[in-house]
């Protein structure tokens, strides 16, 4: 563990990761609660595809610790961890996931399409296609003479898409304040990185665009925090974009209902869970004890259950409003 990091920051990183995990576990519970005995993806209080981010908490916590609400974050089809870490309104986000009128998108978006303009948070459900608009947000920030930055998130599978490379070139060329984050969870649904990617890691690809590239190993939240801190500072100071790839962990399936029969490493996965690992390290360092852990977990649970209750209490959209919001 790095000694450069403040104990209060370590505690915040831990709390953030626990909040995210508590949230994903609650969504998992609610998602499956009324899909029994036979799993039907379109049934229940939360219908549709559900991509949960358990195991990837270190990336969101480490990156977003450096951001304020004026900075922009564009996440992927697996967006909850970044939304939470960037301070998206949890009640309205949860209502959106439940498809309710008080949701961020009034029930029009769903879990892959979360937009909170107050936090400048967006998603794209299309692999790598969240990158180009992020460059445009950064361009707007630069044109207006601010020191705001934009964070673009993808998975490692997205690094083989054209949109990824076009955006890296554009952001490098125009020296835009962007932090490109690649979450390498080893799997593009069922295809391992070894079968999809021609280089050992995607941070190497930064060299092709003349920008710094950093690879963070072992899903290490403090290393993410340190790399992101340098990247955000560079972007705020006019130094242009940075590419950060984090070797993270997809603790669960690609989406709920994915039996992961293709995954030979499945047995070892729970042992790589980053939260118990980090908790043990902080206990050893004297930063956490039983009481502190209990407080964190209780606070996370209260926040999450309150958001779930808010969502369930919100009405479903009126069918007569189906044509609303196509145009401003």
């Amino acid at each position: 563990m790095s000694s450069r990091i403040d104990a209060a920051v370590q505690r915040d990183l831990y709390d953030q990761m626990v909040l995210i995990r508590t949230y994903e576990e609650a969504i998992l519970r609610e998602y499956h609660a009324d899909k029994k005995p036979a799993f039907d993806i379109g049934a229940g209080l939360i219908p549709g595809e559900m991509h949960l981010a358990a195991g990837q908490e270190p990336v969101a916590a480490g990156v977003c610790a450096h951001l304020s609400r004026g900075d922009a974050v564009t996440a992927t089809h697996r967006p909850h961890h970044f939304a939470i870490a960037h301070g998206v309104d949890l009640n309205r986000m949860t209502a959106e996931i439940f498809g309710r009128v008080d949701g961020l998108g009034r029930g029009r978006g769903g879990h892959m399409h979360l937009f909170d303009p107050d936090a400048h948070f967006s998603c794209s459900g299309i692999i790598a296609e969240g990158y180009p608009p992020t460059a445009g947000q950064a361009l707007a920030f630069k044109k207006r003479g601010t020191d705001r930055v934009a964070v673009a998130v993808t998975g490692e599978g997205a690094a083989n898409q054209g949109a990824f490379h076009e955006t890296l070139n554009l952001a490098a060329l125009w020296k835009l304040p962007v932090i490109f984050v690649v979450e390498d969870n080893d799997w593009g649904i069922s295809v391992p990185r070894s079968a999809s990617t021609s280089v050992a890691n995607n941070a190497e690809r930064a060299a092709a665009y003349g920008i710094p590239g950093v690879r963070v190993e072992d899903n290490a939240v403090e290393a993410v925090h340190e790399a992101a801190g340098e990247a955000v500072e560079r972007a705020r100071n006019g130094g242009g974009p940075t590419l950060i790839e984090v070797h993270t962990l997809r603790l669960w399936g690609h989406f709920e209902g994915d039996a992961q029969g293709y995954r030979a490493d499945l047995e070892g996965v729970p042992g790589k869970d980053p939260i118990p690992t980090y908790e043990a390290a902080l206990r050893k360092a004297g930063i956490l004890d039983d009481a502190a852990v209990a407080i964190t977990r209780r606070a996370a649970s209260d926040t999450v259950e309150s958001a779930i209750a808010f969502a369930k209490a919100s009405p479903e959209p009126d069918p007569s409003t189906v044509r609303d919001y196509v145009f401003a």
Binding site: G105, R108, F115, H120, S122, I126, E166, T167, V326
Partner: protein, 360 residues
């Protein structure tokens, strides 16, 4: 600010001789009219900027941005890499942060390399956000054939864009409408696809339509998006069309009026999203005859949509089956005799109109 070159100086003469109520105009070609409208809005609103391939020193391959770089500098008139997904996406992101980008897709035919940004992002973000995020931007793009540029550089494709919800689609046919629709598009809080036909730009290196130069109001000039215009009133047959085909239809209408064959009404749609259904129905109710002229592919497109709207309204307003003059579901061919067989030429339009008025 543009200089008014036509306004009369105050004189001591007879007031009746002065066209006091007529708006001041100057004669511009369509390309220049677009540029003037963009420049005016850039002066009015510092959030407006232009980006695209060759929009800077070159001035736009079809002269849609000529002179803007000199007037506004490289910060606001940005040449981009050949990277349509990247820079159209960048325009979208800038728009979501409140700027008003005008982004050029050089040929509409190139939409294949960037359509995800256009239809999944530009057109859907407002809806997915429940109206909380606006995307105020203009995607301007050159359309149309007639100069042997082949199957990948000659299409219109407006039906493809209009089919997908969330973007307005405007298609001017003349300089005044190009200026007025451009101004409206820039000020609109929605994404607007602005499709200009190369054949009406008034380019010195391409055969010019005689109406590609015309009077453009010099003052604040807005053409409301979603309103068709009656390019020529008539009583026998309605021709509903848009873009360059408006001029072919007008030429044919004048010829048929001169020889007494038919009094043709020409409706210039100007916008197809929203489509001015009311104007179409009003005209066809009077004439009972409809010819739809569309330089886009015939099947599953604009011409079918217009026919469907009439059928949904009241098919009995038609005294005869409708006629469609469109590209007959083939890619645009290269060789001139083939291309001009596929395109909606004046000869094909004339034949369709005569077919409507001829006794059964």
């Amino acid at each position: 600010m543009s200089i008014d070159t036509t306004q009369q100086p105050a004189t001591q003469g007879d007031p009746a001789e002065q066209p006091a109520a007529a708006p001041a105009t100057k004669r511009l070609n369509t390309a220049k009219a677009m540029v003037e409208a963009i420049a005016r809005e850039m002066e009015r609103d510092e959030d407006v900027f232009v980006l695209g391939e060759d929009v800077g020193a070159y001035g736009g391959i079809f002269s849609s941005t000529t002179g803007l770089l000199d007037r506004f500098g490289p910060e606001r008139v940005m040449d981009t890499p050949i990277s349509e997904t990247g820079f159209i996406g960048a325009a979208i992101g800038a728009a979501t942060e409140g700027m008003r980008p005008i982004v050029e897709l050089m040929f509409v035919d190139f939409f294949g390399v960037c359509m995800d940004q256009i239809y999944n992002h530009m057109a859907k973000i407002h809806f997915e956000s429940g109206g909380n995020v606006k995307v105020p931007m203009v995607l301007m793009t050159a359309v149309g054939g007639g100069y042997s540029d082949g199957a990948q550089h000659s299409q219109c494709l407006w039906g493809t864009f209009a089919h997908l919800p969330g973007m307005k689609v405007v298609v001017p046919s003349n300089p005044a409408d190009a200026a007025g629709l451009m101004t409206a598009a820039i000020r609109d809080d929605n994404p607007v696809v602005f499709m200009f036909h190369k054949g009406i730009q008034g380019l010195p290196w391409m055969a010019k339509n005689k109406r590609s130069i015309g009077p453009v109001p010099t003052g604040d000039h807005v053409v409301e998006i979603g309103k068709a215009a009656t390019a020529r009133p008539g009583s026998d047959v309605t021709v509903v069309t848009l873009s360059l085909s408006v001029h072919h239809a007008l030429d044919v209408a004048e010829e048929l009026a001169a020889d007494g064959t038919a009094d043709v009404e020409v409706i210039d749609l100007r916008s197809i999203v929203p489509l001015d259904t009311e104007a179409i129905i009003e005209s066809v109710t009077r004439t009972g005859h409809l010819v739809i002229v569309d330089e886009d592919y015939q099947s599953f497109g604009l011409s079918g949509e217009i026919a469907a709207r009439i059928a949904e309204h009241d098919p009995t307003i038609l005294k005869a089956p409708i006629s469609r003059v469109a590209v007959p579901d083939v890619p645009i061919p290269y060789a001139r005799p083939l291309e001009y067989t596929a395109l909606p030429t004046p000869a094909r339009i004339k034949e369709a109109i005569i077919g409507q008025v001829a006794p059964a």
